[in-house]
Symmetry: D2
Subunit: 363 residues, 4 copies
């Protein structure tokens, strides 16, 4: 009999939910045993609801295909079926999502969330395990504030920031202040879920707008780079980020063109490349199953990284950077790329859960 930790997926029929199910096949620690979605899917076999809209290769993983979908609005259905949940739920409002995620936590079920609802709750950590694993310390204060025992909520940031925050952080960690940065993203359609972006908007076209995405891209790094003070995350002061977010005709992989300005101390291009190549974080130290061996891969070809060629590096968990060069306006510029549904969504959520397990928050 399996010794794996049983895990649930909230929003299991959507695009991100499907990604969790796809990526958790053969996970050494976790096993999907509970799938929840909207009431209209509840009571049906997962296979029957998702078959004709399964997005990831030919077949739904067998072990999940026959699970009966539960009503995600009724957290009691999870009791006894799983020991924590990944939340990829979509509801009519952020308040509704917050309430629902809290309801699971209240029942003793930790929630590792992909949703943006709780990202600005000050005792909920927004985690990228290579960058701010110490933020999980606020979970204790969070539990205490709510009177929760084992349950809690931890979240991950928006997919759009993943192509540049790790490269920024590596430089900051090496002692280089980053004052300002302008980033233009070219984001894949999978980021909008399914059905998502109409093909009439994407064939022979670019859409230079994604609702709410620029605000997230500018503000979330400040919380990620923040500090734990008295059981809360206090945001960092910088860097100041200006983001231009675009949707392009790419299935997976967000590309970011970045120009940035350092503080007084400015590294050389050679030093930057060395810092990025050698950068490692706690997931690498702990050798977590979903940790990329090398979180930042530096490419030297003049026309890389490219989404189709580079997104799958190290199972989609590595960030590729290239075209590192001087910027005539700021100090340097480069192109960053990450797989938005793996590193930027389900894969990042799984790495968060692995970190939380290794620190005893999930068991």
């Amino acid at each position: 009999m399996s010794k794996k930790i049983p895990v649930g997926i909230l929003g299991a029929t959507g695009a991100v939910g499907q990604n969790y199910i796809y990526l958790l096949q053969n996970h050494p620690w976790f096993e999907v045993t509970y799938v929840a979605a909207s009431p209209r899917s509840a009571g049906k076999a997962y296979r029957d609801v998702v078959q004709t809209r399964w997005l990831l290769g030919a077949n739904i993983p067998e072990a999940v295909a026959d699970l009966v979908i539960e009503d995600a609005n009724n957290p009691d259905t999870a009791i006894g079926k799983c020991r924590f949940v990944f939340s990829a739920i979509e509801l009519e409002s952020k308040d509704a999502i917050r309430d629902l995620e809290n309801a699971y936590a209240e029942r003793g079920i930790p929630v590792v969330s992909n949703a943006s609802a709780h990202r600005w709750t000050d005792n909920v950590p927004v985690i990228i395990p290579e960058i701010n694993p110490e933020h999980i310390a606020v979970i204790d204060a969070q539990k205490k504030a709510h009177g929760w025992d084992t349950g809690f909520v931890a979240v991950k940031p928006n997919c759009s920031v993943q192509s540049y925050v790790a490269p920024l952080w590596a430089l900051m960690k090496a002692g280089y202040e980053i004052k300002r940065m302008i980033v233009t993203t070219m984001q894949a359609v999978s980021g909008a879920g399914y059905p998502g972006v109409p093909s009439l908007d994407m064939i022979d076209n670019v859409v230079p707008f994604i609702g709410g995405e620029e605000e997230k891209s500018e503000q979330e790094p400040l919380k990620i780079f923040g500090s734990v003070v008295d059981g809360k995350i206090v945001n960092a002061d910088g860097p100041i980020v200006a983001a231009h977010c675009n949707r392009v005709a790419v299935i997976n992989g967000h590309t970011a063109c970045v120009s940035l300005e350092f503080g007084e101390k400015k590294p050389s291009l050679e030093e930057i490349e060395r810092i990025w190549t050698e950068f490692r974080g706690l997931p690498q130290e702990l050798d977590l199953p979903f940790a990329p061996r090398q979180p930042i891969i530096v490419r030297h070809e003049q026309n890389r990284p490219q989404p189709r060629r580079d997104r799958d590096e190290d199972k989609g968990m590595a960030v590729s950077v290239g075209r590192l060069r001087k910027c005539p306006v700021f100090d340097i510029r480069f192109v960053g790329l990450s797989h938005n549904t793996v590193r930027g969504a389900a894969g990042g959520g799984i790495l968060n859960a692995e970190l939380l397990k290794s620190k005893g928050y999930i068991s």
Copy 2:
């Protein structure tokens, strides 16, 4: 009998050459009477060489289809056949293009060029008629330096700059200095000609590099914004531009995401919009055939401009801007869009020729 000015096309079989032929159909002033290309096409009917690679709708314009292609390397073939030429020639080196364009000019045939070879020749004007029509004054010095009588060379800038230089200029003309700017372009595949970008590089992909394009995007505005001093163009000091140029899966239309910083004096968003909307230049004053009625169109939808929806505005000669908003790093940011093969290539060349004719340089 036609009273139109007979014109030739150098590089008539390539993508830009085809665009000239397409756009010059029914032109009120000009008529294509001479088509020149590489020696291996010379002596054949235009139709026979281009039929299976014609890019612009179903059919080659009848009046050109039966012309016999001349050898572009032999400028004598143009004598008596046309009174000026559009150059869209591609050769093994910039030196070769410069020499060839000079050879036509030497034979008394003005050259209105799309090629980059002569853009940094200081007595050759790089013209956008709405911005710097007075630069054509250097043509007199150019003629004198070479001892040419009626012949000369005038050029247009790279297609990538067209989505932002007119909006910049309108603000500069209104008295607002622009100090710095960071621009990321998402450029159409037609900019690379035919066969150009392989579909294996564009389907489900972005290529974050276009050879030579960032340098052109950064430096050419300085010449366009420069002044005529002693028969030469002296470059402007600013703005400082940093460009990130990308190729995306779009047929026509270059999109540019711009963040810019003004000097001391900073216009409000309302004033910027008014300046752009009211902006007019000499082509509008002269009512040139290819002049857009309104060179800059401001859009208010949150998700515009988009290449497929906006590129054809005013026959492809207007620049569309949208998403004008504050920039957290610089002062403002916006999205600009222009049709790269019309405003950015053949259409821009035709407008240059119209300006030159109206000023007596072509007759």
Copy 3:
């Protein structure tokens, strides 16, 4: 004051409705004066509802943008506002559409429909004006059966058949029986409306299925080729058609690969080409405004017709055929192409209305 016939659009906010509005700009006979859609849009300005989802170039035609949308479910709103309507309505069931179209007709308002609901009503003609204009004779019986005075319903066939029925008919009219035919279509995403096909299904993909499309492609030609008997259309016996319908990453233009078998009498390839090239119908005779001068254009390039190059021939109303050659299984094979939202939808509807006006059914 305009002498044009005022016309309404049912389903004016959808993709086909937008196409009607786009194509009717500057129509010499008709003028859009009434736009109707679902109750939730009713009472709002057309511009406000459609602005961010307008599909056809940059701007909504000014004359329509300020019209207030009426509730399409209340046909009384049309009385006095228009003298006939184009129906592009989408409702929950075909019965509901039939009832609604009848309700307009009952109020004296002719309905020229794009919807499939009435295509199998035996006294409703399915018209392609070049093929079966005499079918409009059943309108008299239809009016009589319902007790209608000026109102009636006439429809057009599905977009998928338009790439091959005119070429078939030209051969049949020339005396060649067509016994059987196998056709594979590669259909544009605009055929599915907006939002329509998700880009996650179309980038780097083909979807080999379109709901209901194969049945329509096989059966509708039999009604089109049928005869008027006692005020009803009696279907033709053949040809027997087998259709494979696919969705491909094309914005506009349905491509059809056809293999067909003649009866005893078999034309040569040369004769077929002559028949197609010379084919003309009643719209050409009457010189109707939307009639293509040459309904069938034969191409000789080995790689044509192609959607992007050929769909716009003669304002999108001509069918292009190419690759006419022997078929090792049947007699001949060829590729047909038509613009699905022009000839196959709104343009075809307008041509129907022009025919009906010229025959006195609309005035």
Copy 4:
């Protein structure tokens, strides 16, 4: 030290050559030790020539990246470096390819070819190991005719046939004659190599023609289904095939819409599905490394198979079929799909080599 059989790749820098190198990573029997290409690449490291045009994920396999490219026109360079070669060579003529492949064979080096040059040489087998493994018997006659000792040439068929020949064969093997068939293919751009199809031809477009492809699609099945008689392959009499071949905007995966007519004996749809699902061949019996466990996968979703979802089934070696249904013109119709660069090119070649090794022709 490795005990694997050293193998060479002719045309190693091209798209098919790259696929061989990609798929042979970690192959249990074979190891790439020799890479040959055109004289202008000879003498350079593989990495240096291919780096910026590597098509398969981020990185060139390390073991091959440092190999020095040899001149493929000089077969002597292979002696001692490999024990057989995969040929993916492209030369100016089929005669040149035949001569070159023979030259390798003459030097004792078996050639397992992807090229079409030798497909109609009567003592060269065109092998699909699940269908006609007994055809390798003609190799003995081939060797004898040339006086070759260990060397020989064996080839695989064109990629376009792979989406339907296995399903056809399974039915023929079960005793059902197939008389006639009409197939329309929608083929991926990777089939044209690199740079291959220009993106100006594929974005928002279909190209209804691929040079030579229809002839191959119609004729090669007859050799594959043929018999060995006196050391030569004698073609089968049927089925008669008519093919319409199209290029669509898909990276990998050829889709085929098939209508077919049986002889007197006609299986039910249920029986066909059973035959396909249970079909196994010699590669499955021998458990060859690249053999798919189930060569034909039957799908039941109404909108499948689709290239992006189904092409990678069983490492890209399985053929997926779906939409099996009655045909109103012939007996049945269905959609077939195979990965054109895996099953249809390099993967198919590797399976051929595995068969030849298991039968003692390669050692």
